[in-house]
């Protein structure tokens, strides 16, 4: 039987060569990638939300965790991340301007705007690294209990946080860190804290002006402060000293907070890094005149889409890690 029926319309609408979405193959695929990557990031952020809602009463307060600004001493929550956000939005703007100049075939303008975009991206990645380093190093130090809860210290008179060095007593119990070159080969200790548990406990008992703060958030949205008696009682649960944050322990509170912080900002930072690398490749292609010869700057537009996407993700990371 004759099943292949040809009609007139096949030649025009369905005959191929049409672009119903008015986007080239490369641009469509970039959008395809962006949508799937957006779903990946959503998965990460929602699982962060899951863990947070699960421990809603004990989750660390971001304003107390990220308080530092490079070259400045003191307590400035959010200022630095706000700066990072601005840098990333700014580099998005120079990217849009590069795309715009590309549409007008102005090669030199595209070069300079791409250059500015790369610089912005590099500043952002550098800031991210600094933020990580500060977070890993830690602020005040804390104790961890048998159940994995974190006990932090507060000065009773001022209500400010007390660092371990403020009250811990140095005891004659120096132990040398075991390194791989000594004793059994290829075995070494992890990091060693600057004070032992014993030194912190002795110092705490000798200083009546120090109180313990638990992870639990009270009705005022602040961490619960124990009385001196409760503090001494709670101190007996402590099993180790924690300084800074890593994937296993975290002086700021819930360990999951540090895990998600490293994972999500790390994954985003990796996107920014690869974005900078791709931008550099495109940058050199522009200088070499590749797109001038090709007759259009669509590659700049495509890499631009990726770059804006990275900015878009940061807007969400900023909200869910630093603001909410």
């Amino acid at each position: 039987m004759d099943t292949a029926v040809t009609t007139e319309s096949e030649g025009t609408t369905w005959g191929g060569g049409n672009q119903p979405l008015n986007a080239s193959y490369g641009k469509m695929m970039m959008w395809f990638f962006i949508v799937s990557d957006a779903l990946t990031f959503s998965g990460f952020l929602v699982s962060y939300g899951f863990s947070r809602f699960k421990f809603i009463e004990t989750w660390p307060i971001a304003d107390e965790v990220f308080t530092h600004v490079p070259f400045f001493h003191g307590n400035y929550p959010m200022i630095y991340v706000a700066f990072m956000t601005f840098i990333l939005i700014m580099s998005s703007v120079t990217m849009v301007l590069a795309v715009d100049a590309g549409h007008k075939m102005k090669k030199n303008k595209v070069i300079w705007y791409m250059f500015a975009t790369i610089i912005g991206g590099a500043i952002f990645v550098g800031s991210q690294a600094w933020e990580w380093a500060t977070f890993i190093k830690g602020d005040f130090g804390a104790l961890e209990t048998k159940g994995g809860r974190v006990l932090q210290f507060v000065k009773a008179d001022t209500g400010e946080r007390a660092a371990l060095a403020d009250f811990a007593t140095a005891l004659p119990e120096d132990r040398i860190k075991h390194e791989s070159k000594n004793g059994i080969w290829y075995q070494e200790e992890g990091y060693q804290t600057s004070f032992s548990l014993n030194e912190v406990i002795t110092g705490f008992k000798a200083n009546p002006g120090i109180l313990i703060r638990t992870e639990t958030i009270n009705e005022d949205g602040e961490k619960t402060l124990l009385t001196r008696e409760q503090s001494l009682d709670r101190l007996s649960d402590a099993v180790r000293v924690v300084e800074g944050a890593n994937l296993i322990r975290n002086e700021y509170g819930s360990r999951l907070f540090a895990d998600f912080f490293f994972f999500i900002t790390g994954f985003h930072g990796f996107h920014v890094f690869s974005g900078v690398v791709i931008n550099i490749i495109i940058f050199f292609n522009i200088i070499l005149g590749t797109y001038e010869r090709r007759g259009h700057y669509e590659m700049v537009e495509k890499v631009g889409l990726y770059w804006h996407f990275v900015d878009l993700v940061w807007v969400f990371v900023f909200t869910f890690f630093y603001l909410v």
Partner: protein, 129 residues
């Protein structure tokens, strides 16, 4: 050229037609910076009216943050990623797919998280020791 830009934006505020794409971009930058500044100021001062009052189990302040984030996301996607200038079919395919999937994911995971929170709180389960 095929790159016709729609230059009338901010329609919620009466609308503003820009004379070129470049000018529009700088205005969008100004707007995004303003929104970020508002977020940071609210985050530093935390007005009590917004932190003491709740709506659907979340502080008003957090609702404001999330809404402002979505506003920023809208302008990044619409003007920086120039979705505003794309065909509506492409725009809808890109935008509604994640919105639909992510809304479901958010609902199911946060609902389950709240359930586990209640188990930790009310069940005979020791975790604070």
């Amino acid at each position: 050229m095929a790159h016709a830009h729609k230059l009338r934006i901010f329609r919620w505020a009466g609308g503003k037609t820009f004379k070129s794409n470049t000018v529009k971009i700088w205005w969008v930058l100004g707007f995004l910076s303003l929104v970020t500044a508002v977020e940071v100021i609210l985050g530093i001062f935390k007005p009590e009216v917004l932190t003491k009052n709740y709506f659907v189990g979340m502080k008003l302040l957090n609702w404001i943050f999330i809404i402002l984030t979505l506003v920023k996301a809208y302008y990044i996607a619409w003007d920086f990623m120039h979705l505003r200038d794309e065909k509506s079919a492409l725009r809808r395919a890109i935008v509604w797919t994640p919105i639909f999937l992510v809304s479901y994911l958010v609902f199911i995971l946060l609902y389950e998280a709240d359930y586990i929170y209640n188990i930790f709180k009310n069940g005979f389960f020791a975790w604070d020791f």
